[in-house]
Symmetry: C2
């Protein structure tokens, strides 16, 4: 293999590949990236067995070839190289081996840029776990911006408890021209809905949370650039720019979320989002010790008095609101409130309550978002 | 106590105080800041027993008083407060106590800003360890910029081995109108010399490295702002802006550094500083495993070939130099070279060698800096 490519392009592709490289693994090969240079394109492939990424870049291929390199080492060396052009060479003669301190002979790749030359050990690609060849159907098209947003606005409610596998994923549901994503963790539910440009057959799958988090880091904020989402029985594929992300789906039936929702309420509050966000954010300062006290919403007339008392100290703060219905005193985990408020773009938010033991709903009128949060007894 | 002051001024003063608050301590009171509001000035005092800081700010003192607050909690609360004005109130009646979960009654301070009100526990100042009253003599004046620079250009060579106490400090030596600071750790020496505006009696003390590191973080980059440095038998005091930093000195005689220096050399190299810095910096990528291989300088004719081989991989790179004297092959800890090069402002640096077993000297012609680095056998 003998190829030359541009440093910043290569770094960008390596950055994408790293999203599917685990930090630690008992399988050494998972820490490697496969470099495949053939048919005028250089592909980098990484695979952590749940999530696989293939990303392509252009370059000069003087001699095609394929090889695996340690992902982190390769990334760090390329980042520090002095020149815009980077040459990667793997020979096939006697000189193409390096010896370890123990005298073992290992195949090497030379990385040259300007006057700097590095040599690192490589592995043959026959040890690499390539991505399965999936022929999915039903391609759904969505803008990168929309997909990135809807993931970020729900993923914080995904449970990280591996004992309830389904909760570690998000429901991804297509109904005609609408996409709904749902995440829940036993104490709260986050639901976002957006309208797509086209209509599609009904589709309901569970995508692993880890996949969604990694994809959202690669997606651009560009509303003009699209993602093609493609499903097969056990996999979902996201194609965008020069990248293909392939992920396993989580097997099983997602919770019947609609049964947990209700339009009934006895108290409706309209509050300035920034004000409530900052007040609850401040209260978190008092919550550092192990005793996780709730923040109390003391709703009286047209004011909510927020207060919290822990072993660290106490706080209280009033915010004026618009109110329909009775007075109420109700407690919440401030972290859950913060997570929801942070992801609402509206200047004013509506909060719906029934009583101190029933969940609070935060939602807009067309239900493009619904955040349900269970109260805490106090 | 009832005082009001400006949020950003208060935050700035707290930031300075925190430099003398230990992260952990068996003495709880060391984690506290004393607030002393009297005689029209608000003082914050912190003291970790080796280093003490007193910093003053202006504010409205409606009722003078003094109290101790948990430094980290106070800092975090003030940072998050909504308004420019911050009121701190400690009452003296029944209402000025808060009760813990265990029913214990503790004096409290109310911190109010806009509609937000926090209450945190406080301690009386009679538990606080105030700074000793030092009447030193021989005030040395130096600009904040110069003091900050000379500390930063030497402190990396201070040893952190507490078994050789003297090595954990820096020599601070005044000779007429010249200040020399020296740090060494057994493998290298860093020496910087600057000229002062005035002449002073001879002075030779050892200042703890921790003190110097914390002071350099508080000092500004302003060449017009001065620091008054004042010595007593066991302490040194730095006065600048509204702040006094007091530190213990390290007892003992510093090493006779001049005996370790020599002007003799057999090989002199003049090299571009940025080039050698970047080359050696890249070599560090191969040094992550436990075996700490040296970087080899293979000096031949007018080229240095830098090379390193570890279990991770190998690198080599040529840099053209000006050379006087023989060829030489010599190995160094790349980290020590990097530390010195990073702190030299010159575009070209002179390096002096005798042989592969003798130290390398990096120095300018008037010896405003001398970095001595011992070689490594390879």
């Amino acid at each position: 293999m003998n190829i030359t490519c541009n440093k910043s392009k290569l770094l960008n592709s390596i950055g994408i590949s790293l999203k599917a490289v685990p930090n630690k693994s008992t399988m050494r090969i998972l820490g490697f990236i496969a470099i495949i240079a053939e048919d005028d394109v250089i592909k980098l492939i990484s695979n952590n067995l749940e999530l696989g990424i293939e990303t392509a870049l252009t370059g000069d291929i003087m001699e095609p070839g394929k090889i695996c390199v340690d992902a982190k080492m390769f990334s760090e060396i390329v980042r520090k190289l002095p020149n815009d052009d980077i040459n990667m060479y793997v020979g096939s003669d006697e000189d193409s081996y390096m010896s370890t301190d123990e005298g073992e002979k290992i195949r090497k790749m030379s990385i040259t840029s300007g006057k700097a030359k590095f040599e690192i050990p490589v592995l043959p690609t026959d040890e690499f776990v390539f991505l399965p060849n999936i022929n999915g159907s039903d391609t759904v098209v969505i803008s990168q911006f929309d997909l990135k947003s809807i993931i970020n606005q729900t993923e914080f409610s995904i449970s990280d408890n591996e004992n309830t596998k389904i909760m570690t994923g998000e429901l991804f549901e297509i109904d005609d021209n609408s996409l709904r994503m749902v995440a829940l963790d036993g104490n709260r539910i986050a639901i976002r809905k957006i309208t797509l440009d086209n209509s599609y057959p009904h589709k309901k799958v569970i995508i692993p949370g880890k996949t969604l988090r990694e994809i959202s880091k690669i997606l651009s904020d560009d509303n003009e650039k699209m993602v093609d989402i493609n499903f097969s029985e056990n996999h979902v594929t996201f194609k965008f720019d020069d990248t293909i992300v392939l992920s396993r789906l989580i097997d099983g039936n997602y919770y019947d979320v609609d049964k947990m929702l209700t339009d009934d309420y006895r108290i409706k509050i309209t509050i300035n989002k920034q004000e409530i966000y900052e007040t609850i954010d401040r209260s978190m300062l008092l919550r550092k010790d192990s005793d996780k006290k709730p923040i109390i919403f003391d709703i009286k007339d047209n004011v909510i008095n927020f207060n919290m008392k822990t072993n660290i100290g106490s706080m209280n703060e009033d915010i004026e609101v618009k109110k329909e219905g009775d007075d109420l005193k109700i407690g919440f985990n401030p972290k859950f409130m913060i997570d929801a408020m942070k992801n609402i773009g509206d200047e004013e938010v509506d909060m719906y309550f029934i009583n101190a033991k029933s969940p609070c709903f935060i939602r807009d009128t067309d239900k493009s978002y619904i955040y349900l949060i269970l109260p805490i007894n106090f």
